[in-house]
Each structure stands twice: as structure tokens, then as C-alpha cells.
């Protein structure tokens, strides 16, 4: 079968491109960061290894415009096209699927991703999509589906592969039941880097301290914790799968020795903790991979990694560590199921910076309950952490209800969503009623980002960068330029709606 794994270029009215890929909130950027969609890349590899003809079709990373993307895809004449859904691009996909069906009537269109997974019927009603793949283990399910399509002409009516909603006629569909939540990740292939054109993603990623960088095949699928209400990895039908340490080490060795990679980021919701984290770091050291000039980065949560583990990770050349710092007040943390304490946030960051890791905080504002005191406390705490050098970089986003996460569902149930247009969920503005005028949240974003231009912070940053093992001034310069550009884009995106609060929002705010 000819299978295209497709990411069409999605451009908004400001001429900005959407970044769509797994569990990343879609954001539109003028100069985008290109993120390798890891599970889709594993799916592509699995299909390729099974003898199918795979077309890795990322219009964004391949710098195509929409028309070029479409004409190239149509010319390739795929049997199957696979998309990835998330709330703010749903309408785009509905439209694109109709256009594609007209041009390629016998092609089967499959959609993956968390929005469609939670609303399969809506997707089929609104579009010409044929199959909703309702599983994050799409590498396993897609391979089963394509194999069945190749051999069973009646697959729409008879397939019993779990985790699918299949269109059986213009108006009817059938579900094949819940998907299998835990798949053996050691059985899905490690990404074929050439197949997915890894170099397209190796440079334009603001989180890479070093280039060429790449994303590892994630060691944890979904999340070991999986309870935060705003997160897609939260659901009664979700638990986590984990890859073995040795297998992941083998991939790192291959990336460093055979591809010349200088930074590897594992985008698992939360990376290994405890024994596996220590085994991995020790494995890097035992294989001598910590001496090859390659940095390693991960996502983790506060209160998962202890001092000894952090020390070992630093020795193994880990650097970039992304931590969700969603708020500083207890009520918000409780409502989000976040479960960390400020005392332990401080100790975790102290350990990380003491051993030379680079903690990056991802902060959110604009919860529908967020009061002046709560907002001020978050801003004040972030400032304090940054000025004291306990975190190196940060990113602020507006908490946007997406993909029918528990937070999204809460907003719907409470009737506080200000829009029912999915396009408005693009994280560029607040779309819920809140106790403060929306401009106050935008101001807070500006204030947090302004930390990065404060002389105190810059002095700390220079001290830190000077201490890095790689004393390469061109690298320091390039990284700083990329960091500043990123901050400016974020500020522009997140505050361009300042002063534009509508009468309806004003009424609901004062009510």
C-alpha cells in the first residue's frame, strides 16, 4: 500500500504557520520550530519495514506552501493519507479532507490525534475522513489497519482491529471498540531517520542548545502520572507504556555515532524516573556517550527526580530539562491535579542548577478561576526563581481548553467558553470568562517574558553559559539569538489580543 503521513502547511491570517505534532499545543509562528512527530515517525518506519511504500509528507518542515503540498501529494497517488488532529486545526482538516477526496476519490483518509479520538463521530460527520484512529499507539494500530486494507477488501465492515471508528457509508460508521492502552514499546521500530528526513528538524528548534539535534523515540508513551486536568494524557482510558533502557541507549548510540547528532531530546510526557533514570544515565556513561559532545534533554515533573539521579544525569551530559510550572498557588495546583509543593520545586531546581542542568519552566496563565492574588503570586514566584538563577529559560502560554481534556470538559460543563469556534482554540487569546479583565493576563505574560531582558537575569545567564563545557562563542551567540527571537514571537502571539476584549467578555468578567 502507498501510505502518506501528512502534515499540510496550515497558515493563519497573520501569515503564521501552525506547529502541529503530538501533545504539543498548536501555536502559530512566523518562523516556526519544526518538531519531529515521533510516534508518527515510528508508524512510518513500521509501515516501511512491513513493505509498504511510505511518503513522509511534512509540508511545514519541507518548506512547502499549501498548493505545492497538495499537488505533490495528489501526484504521488496514495492509497492512504494519515493526518493528526487537534482542536484548533479541526476545521482546516475537515475542509482539506473534502478537497482531497475530490482529487483522490479512492484514497482512504485516516485521522489520528486527541481531538478526533475524543469526538470520532463529529469528525466523520463534518468531513470526508474515512477512519478515526482513536489511539495514541497509532504505530501499532496503523500498521494493523494498513495490513488489513491490503488483504481484506471488506475491511470497513469486518475489521476487528481495536481503536477505530470506520465510515461504512456516507452517514454511517461503526466503532471497533476501545484500543489497547499498553503496547510493548520494545516491539515498535526505532525511527528510521532517513525515511522521515530528520535533518529537516535538526536546526530550527528553539529548545536545542546544540545542533544538529533530534528527538529520540520516546521512552514513555502517554504519561506515568497522567492526572493533570489540562493535559491530553489524562483519561480513564489511558495509562502508560515504557521502552526498555537498553533499547533507548542503543538508539542514542546510533544517533551519536552514525548520524553525528549533537543534542537528543526525549519528548515523553514525563521521562524515566528512579531506577530507569539512573540506569539510563549510567548506561550513557558506560558507553562513553557523555564524551561525544552531545547534550541530552527531557521533560519531567517536580518531585520525580532526586538529587543523586540528577547528579548522575548531569555527569552523563544531560542539559535541557523542561518542567511544567503551571502556577504557584495551592488552589490552582489542586484544581489542576498538579500536586507539587513550592518547597520541593525549589529543592529540585537547586539540585538541577547545582549540577549544571538547564531547567526550562513552562508556565501557564488564564485559568478561568485565576484571581489577582493567584496571578501575582505566579509572576512573583517565577521572577524570584529566574533572578536567583534556579531556572534558565521559560515559556508562558495561555491555558487553553483543548482536545476534550478534563479542563476542556469542565469549561464546557460550566458554560464559561466564550466561543464554539474551534479556530479560536489556537492559544493566541483567552477564550474563557475569568475573574480579571483579559488584558491583565496578557500583561502578566509580558511581565514574565520581560524577566529575560532584565540585567540581573542576563548577568546570571552569561555566568551560566560561560560555565558550560562547550566554550564556543558562536554557539552561545546563535543560541541567544534563537532564544530572543523565540521570546519575541511568544510575546507577539500571546499579547496581540491585548486591548481587544469584547463587550461580551467585559460583561462576563464583571458579572
Amino acid at each position: 500500500m502507498k501510505v502518506a503521513i501528512s502534515y499540510p502547511p496550515i497558515v493563519n491570517d497573520q501569515g503564521q504557520k501552525a506547529m502541529v505534532s503530538q501533545n504539543r499545543n498548536v501555536q502559530f509562528f512566523q518562523k516556526p520550530t519544526y518538531l519531529l512527530p515521533v510516534i508518527h515517525a515510528q508508524a512510518a518506519t513500521a509501515l516501511d519495514q512491513a513493505g509498504h511504500d511510505v511518503y513522509w509528507d511534512d509540508g511545514n518542515a519541507q518548506l512547502k506552501d499549501y498548493d505545492k503540498w497538495l499537488s505533490d501529494l495528489v501526484a504521488w497517488q496514495p492509497d492512504v493519507v494519515v493526518f493528526e488532529s487537534t482542536t484548533p486545526v479541526m476545521k482546516f482538516y475537515w475542509k482539506t479532507s473534502r478537497q482531497l477526496k475530490e482529487l483522490l476519490p479512492s484514497t482512504t483518509i485516516v485521522i489520528t490525534g486527541y481531538h478526533s479520538m475524543r469526538r470520532p463521530e463529529e469528525t466523520l460527520d463534518e468531513s470526508d475522513i474515512d477512519v478515526v484512529l482513536r489511539s495514541n499507539n497509532l504505530d501499532f494500530v496503523l500498521l494493523r489497519l494498513v495490513n488489513e486494507m491490503a488483504t481484506n477488501p471488506f475491511w470497513r465492515m469486518t475489521s476487528d482491529i481495536e481503536g477505530l471508528t470506520i465510515r461504512t457509508s456516507e452517514t454511517e460508521s461503526r466503532s471497533t471498540g476501545n484500543f489497547i492502552q499498553v503496547e510493548p514499546l520494545d516491539k515498535t521500530p526505532l525511527i528510521d531517520r532517513d525515511l522521515v528526513r530528520w535533518k529537516d528538524y535538526a536546526y530550527e528548534n528553539g529548545n536545542f542548545l546544540n545542533t544538529p539535534g533530534t528527538y529520540a523515540s520516546s521512552v514513555v508513551r502517554d504519561c506515568m502520572f497522567g492526572k493533570c486536568t489540562f493535559c491530553r494524557y489524562n483519561g480513564p482510558d489511558l495509562t502508560f507504556s515504557m521502552m526498555s533502557v537498553e533499547r533507548s541507549l542503543d538508539e542514542y548510540q546510533d544517533l551519536i555515532e552514525n548520524h553525528g547528532v549533537k543534542e537528543i531530546f526525549d519528548d515523553s510526557g514525563v521521562w524515566y524516573r528512579g531506577r530507569e533514570a539512573r540506569q539510563f544515565a549510567q548506561g550513557i556513561i558506560d558507553r562513553g556517550l557523555h564524551k561525544k559532545g552531545c547534550y541530552f534533554g527531557i521533560n519531567t515533573r517536580f518531585e520525580y527526580l532526586d538529587e543523586e539521579t540528577i547528579k548522575l544525569m548531569a555527569k552523563a551530559n544531560f542539559r535541557f530539562v523542561l518542567l511544567g510550572f503551571e502556577a504557584a498557588d495551592d488552589e490552582t495546583l489542586m484544581r489542576l491535579n498538579k500536586g507539587y509543593q513550592m518547597e520541593h520545586v525549589e529543592s529540585c531546581l537547586t539540585w538541577m542548577t547545582k549540577y549544571g542542568l538547564h531547567p526550562h519552566l513552562t508556565i501557564m496563565v488564564g485559568y478561568y478561576w485565576q484571581t489577582r492574588e493567584q496571578l501575582d503570586l505566579t509572576v512573583k514566584t517565577v521572577k524570584s526563581l529566574m533572578y536567583r538563577g534556579l531556572a534558565r529559560t521559560l515559556q508562558v502560554t495561555i491555558c487553553t481548553p483543548l482536545d476534550f481534556t478534563p479542563y476542556h470538559q469542565e469549561c464546557i460543563d460550566q458554560g464559561i467558553l466564550l466561543t464554539d469556534d474551534y479556530d479560536d482554540h489556537d492559544m493566541s487569546k483567552l477564550i474563557v470568562t475569568a475573574p480579571l479583565p483579559h488584558d491583565e493576563y496578557y500583561k502578566a505574560i509580558r511581565e514574565i517574558y520581560s524577566i529575560t531582558f532584565n540585567p540581573r537575569f542576563i548577568a546570571r545567564q552569561i555566568m551560566f553559559l560561560g560555565k558550560m563545557r562547550k566554550r564556543d562563542w558562536q554557539f552561545l551567540f546563535t543560541y541567544s539569538i534563537r532564544a530572543i527571537r523565540r521570546v519575541r514571537q511568544h510575546i507577539f502571539n500571546l499579547t496581540r489580543n491585548e486591548g481587544k476584549q469584547t463587550e461580551a467578555e467585559r460583561v462576563s468578567v464583571s458579572a
Binding site: 495509562t239 518531585e303 509543593q341
Partner: protein, 213 residues
Amino acid sequence: MDSFKVIENIRLSESTFRLRTERPNVPIKAGQCFSVGTKELGINREYSMYSAADDDFIDFLIREVEDGIVTPALGRCKPGDLVEIGGPYGEFCLPIQAIAEDSFVFIASGTGVAPFHSFIKSFPWLDYKLYHGIRHEDEKYESDDYEPSRYITAVSQPANGNGERITSVLSREQMNPESHYYLCGNRQMITDTVQILRERGVPGGRILMETFF
């Protein structure tokens, strides 16, 4: 996260202990878990509730992991010590409308039996069957809490050397596709069990899982 007093800490087997703490003053459903840690460590791990939902304490059934971080510290806790507890979290719970009418099959490895013990203590009239895979005889923990006819174990490393895995037991059993199947414990057991259930015609919609590690 708040601090709660340890009420008692009892060894149930060589490697496993039952930690009883004060109960956080919040609604709790059987099957949910908590983050538990100590102030000194500054880190925590998730533990499923082992006690009944309406007990006025919380029990955790915890295996002490060799070179683990949190479990040795919790294992050393004495009555009166404080532990930090956050939660409850999660939706690995029984559907209320099904509790009175439907039958349930619980399949656990090791301490993965914790949420099932909580279900059975919370809903004593539950129509259930519990399959429990353990390494040694002494890991049957508080097996008196289960009706003998409903509790089936497989010991993989018994003293007499004739070990059996829970998946081998399951592959000989009749499976009712109408029952609700709950799986909890290590990934390998869960993956193998799903395979067996699917071969026996249990639909995916009837299977729910909680992975510990």
C-alpha cells in the same frame, strides 16, 4: 500536598508493607491513587489506595523496591511520623451503575492487587473473581479478605519449584465477554493478559488497565 500522620506500618511479606495513614478530608473513590512521599526526600511516587473508600484512614500496599528511593523511606516510617500525600487522582474506578448488576474480573500482579482490595472492601456485595500473580506464597497478603472461591493465585517462584504465571492460569479459564475486566500491575503481565482476553473474545471496551511500572 499535605502532611499526614502514619498510624501503623506493618510488614505483610518479606518485601511488602501496609502503610496506614490519616485520611485526607476529601471525597475518595475506590480505585484512585495518591502521590506519597516524605518531606526529607522532596520527591514522591503514586500509590493506589488499598483500603475501603469510606474507611477513616488510608492504607497503601507497597512493595519495597531494591535500590528504590521512595519505598525504602516509606518502609522505615513509624507511627506518628509524617508523610506527604497529594490526591486522590485517577479514574481506575468501577462504573456505579454496573456495581450491583454486572460481574467483574480483576487481574493483578504483585501489589497491583491494591485497587482490587479497595473495590472488594468498599462494595462487599460485588460479584467478582480475582486473579493474583505473585512471586512467593507470602505475597497473598490479606487473602482472608477475599472469598476463597473468588480468589485465584499463581505463584511464579514457589518453594517447591513448580512455578506458574497468572497468564498460564488465565489461558485455561472460561472468560465471560459480558464481564468487566480490570488489569493492574506490571506492563508485561498487562500486555500478555490483554492478548489472552482478546483471543477469548473479550471486547476492548470491557478492559481497563492501570500500569504501575
